[in-house]
């Protein structure tokens, strides 16, 4: 995406950037004003939750889209941050809970997530394609079962409950509107950071490594170090999303980091499209809406079938996800307007 952008000539690039600016401005304003018309449920359970999962899928998109590394361990990294918040902060499960204030606990949690992510990356960068997928799946599964059976640190099947979002500046940040803006802030920041990062020297190098690691190695770039650093950055995003996730649920248990959730993240990224950082957010909205409302459409017995069919249909029609679908429809629309002319 950004490669083609740079490849364009200098003059069209200016227009292109202007256009992006306008689009972002409209979208940003719409999202800022969204709380005026949405109910509390749509603010947190749909929009907030979608943005949390959007950021999680964005961390996967960063790895897969720019680095060519498909990971199933993003929810595990988020889970590490979530568990860290529960353990370092306070919970009501009578296990651990050091009671640190949030502004110490959260940076520690995110740092722990980023370092674990870098470790996972360090283990898996030597592999490619489906083998990376298998290694990260193994790590996700192992962490899930470890969390379920370890009582000293993870408190087993029931996990931690009674974790509260911080209250400061006189605002309870778990109230619907503040929490929505918290999620929106994180989503916008992550989106802008990834967009900016993809055009930075590091981003360009990473994409070049994705396309031809041997040539980049021959040119003198440290391929492994670049990849591991990408994992570290993805870990920061996933960690931040994990912190919001534990504030959102008020609890964390092995079910939060299960293999089904890991696959959900992959589905979100694939449904949305891996070519542009907006893809994961589009995917998250579609997936969360489906998972929430499918039961109202077809009843309790078959709603998972409907969800599966919709995803199948999207991928069948457009292997690039919803972004690719738009890319296909757009030329048709353009021609339509030509045909409509006299």
């Amino acid at each position: 995406m950004s490669l083609t952008t740079i490849a364009d000539g200098a003059v069209p690039q200016q227009n292109w950037l202007d256009k992006i600016g306008a689009g972002h401005f409209i979208l940003g304003t719409a999202l800022l004003l969204y709380p005026l018309l949405a109910s509390d449920f749509f603010l947190t359970q749909i929009a907030g939750y979608s943005m949390i999962f959007g950021v999680l899928a964005l961390s996967l998109m960063l790895l897969a889209g720019y680095g060519g590394m498909l990971s199933l361990a993003q929810i595990t990294v988020a889970g590490i941050a979530a568990y860290a918040v529960a353990i370092l902060g306070s919970n009501n499960s009578n296990v651990l809970g050091f009671g640190w204030p949030w502004w110490i606990a959260v940076p520690f949690a995110v740092a722990a997530a980023a370092v674990s992510s870098a470790l996972i990356g360090w283990i898996s960068v030597r592999t490619e394609g489906i083998y990376t997928l298998m290694i990260t799946l193994a790590i996700a599964t192992a962490t899930f079962y470890f969390a379920q059976q370890n009582y000293a640190i993870f408190n087993g099947h029931s996990g931690y409950a009674g974790i509260h979002a911080p209250v400061f500046w006189g605002i309870d940040w778990r109230d619907p509107k503040p929490f929505y803006y918290l999620c929106l802030g994180l989503a916008m920041l992550s989106y802008a950071a990834v967009l900016y990062g993809s055009r930075s020297t590091f981003g360009m190098t990473l994409q070049a490594i994705r396309d031809n690691p041997r040539r980049m190695g021959a040119l003198g770039y440290h391929v492994t170090a670049h990849k591991v650093f990408a994992w570290f950055l993805a870990g920061i995003l996933a960690g931040l999303a994990g912190v919001l996730l534990v504030w959102f649920n008020g609890r964390v248990s092995p079910g939060t980091i299960g293999v089904d959730v890991a696959i959900d993240i992959l589905i979100i990224a694939v449904i949305g499209g891996l070519r542009h950082p907006i893809g994961p957010f589009v995917g998250a909205i579609v997936v969360i809406l489906m998972q929430t409302f499918a039961i109202d459409i077809v009843g309790a017995e078959r709603f998972n079938t409907l969800i599966g069919l919709v995803f199948l249909a999207i991928v069948f029609v457009s292997p690039d996800g919803i972004l690719g679908l738009w890319g296909r429809i757009k030329p048709h629309l353009a021609q339509e307007s030509l045909r409509a002319g006299p």
């Binding site: 109910s39 449920f41 749509f42 359970q45 099947h157 609890r251 248990s253 909205i285 039961i295 738009w326």
Partner: protein, 413 residues
Amino acid sequence: MHRRTLLALALFTGLTAPSMALAADDAIKIGLLATFEGPFTVLGEDGERGAMTAIAETNGTVAGKKIEIVKGSSDASPDSAVRAARKLVEQDGVKVLVGPLSGDEGLAVKDYAKTKPDVTFINGTSAAQDTTLRNPAENFFRFSTDGAQWMAGLGTYAFKDKGYKKVATVAEDYSFPYTQVFGFMAEFCKAGGHVPSKSWVPIGNKDFSSVIAAIPEDVDAIYVALGGADAVNFLTQYQQAGGSAPLIGGSITVDQTVLTSKGKLRDVLKGTPSAGPTADTNDAPAWKAFVDAYKKQPGAFPSPSLFAHGYYVNMKATLLALDQIGGDVSDGGKKLREALSKLSFDTPTGKVSLDKNRNAVADIFLTEVTEGSDGNLLNKLVKVVPQVNQTLGIPEDEFMKLGAVNRDNPSCP
């Protein structure tokens, strides 16, 4: 350019939000939360049949208003239960919610209930002790009994009548089986029995070989508290491994969801003593009438499982209380909760009333698995333990001293 897609979606999302205000005035919305996905799907579907039996009894109306059931699905994990409950309460706008099904879900929904004081929560079949005993929610009611109550009489029966002195336990690793083991051991240890080994397995475990190997050779019996597919897998593998110790069943181990499974398992299960809120060969006319009504539901088992029973009792209580107050929940459910706390009624399994923590006091049935005349395995009624309360007849302060239920408490090796 892609942003336009998102914008359209965002607008669409915003536009759909106000549609929640469109509830019809002459209908009463009741949320029904059960496990329609995951390892407990079969149990959740039977719970739904039970709830629907109660609704069919009043022809789908209460206090002259039509009942509208909105279903929510969880996968037995606390996160999913709270998410489903939130959707029912905050999006569908239900003021009365019946559910959830399993132990940890109940604990999580109770915590959520505290943040929604205007909504009335009535349990499904979740049976962890601390859902109501410690730190209860004012608006959470349980007309089904808890897992420790379900074990009333079983420990004494196993020690005195069956003559088991040493028993190993195998149970799933979460709050409900902890509660069941607690209830069994409270009596068994008091009678003089010993439990040298306790095995806890994760829900959905497939390979039990290491668990089976860890069971001591010299035990007189094995107490098994596993549910659904887990019970079938363990019992099959235990038999294949040549195990021959007699079994003692937790309430959901020898439930109809397990007894209807095919294969050699049937021979192992015959003669297994157990206890729970229902007994298949109960002769009481009220129970027989309930079984007949239950069988009219699509896909019903030969005899209702305790999930069908639990959801039935809780839904029935909800409807009775709604009827008393004329179906009026416009006051934030205050009248409904008052009616519920005073409610005492006759269920198919005897009288049910609530204690001060809004937990049921009810009859418990001691049973033994036998083969019925039509070849189906049934829980034969051995004895009724009348009106068991949550502290199992022990004075409350003494009972609280036993400590919270967990994997290490109680202990009598």
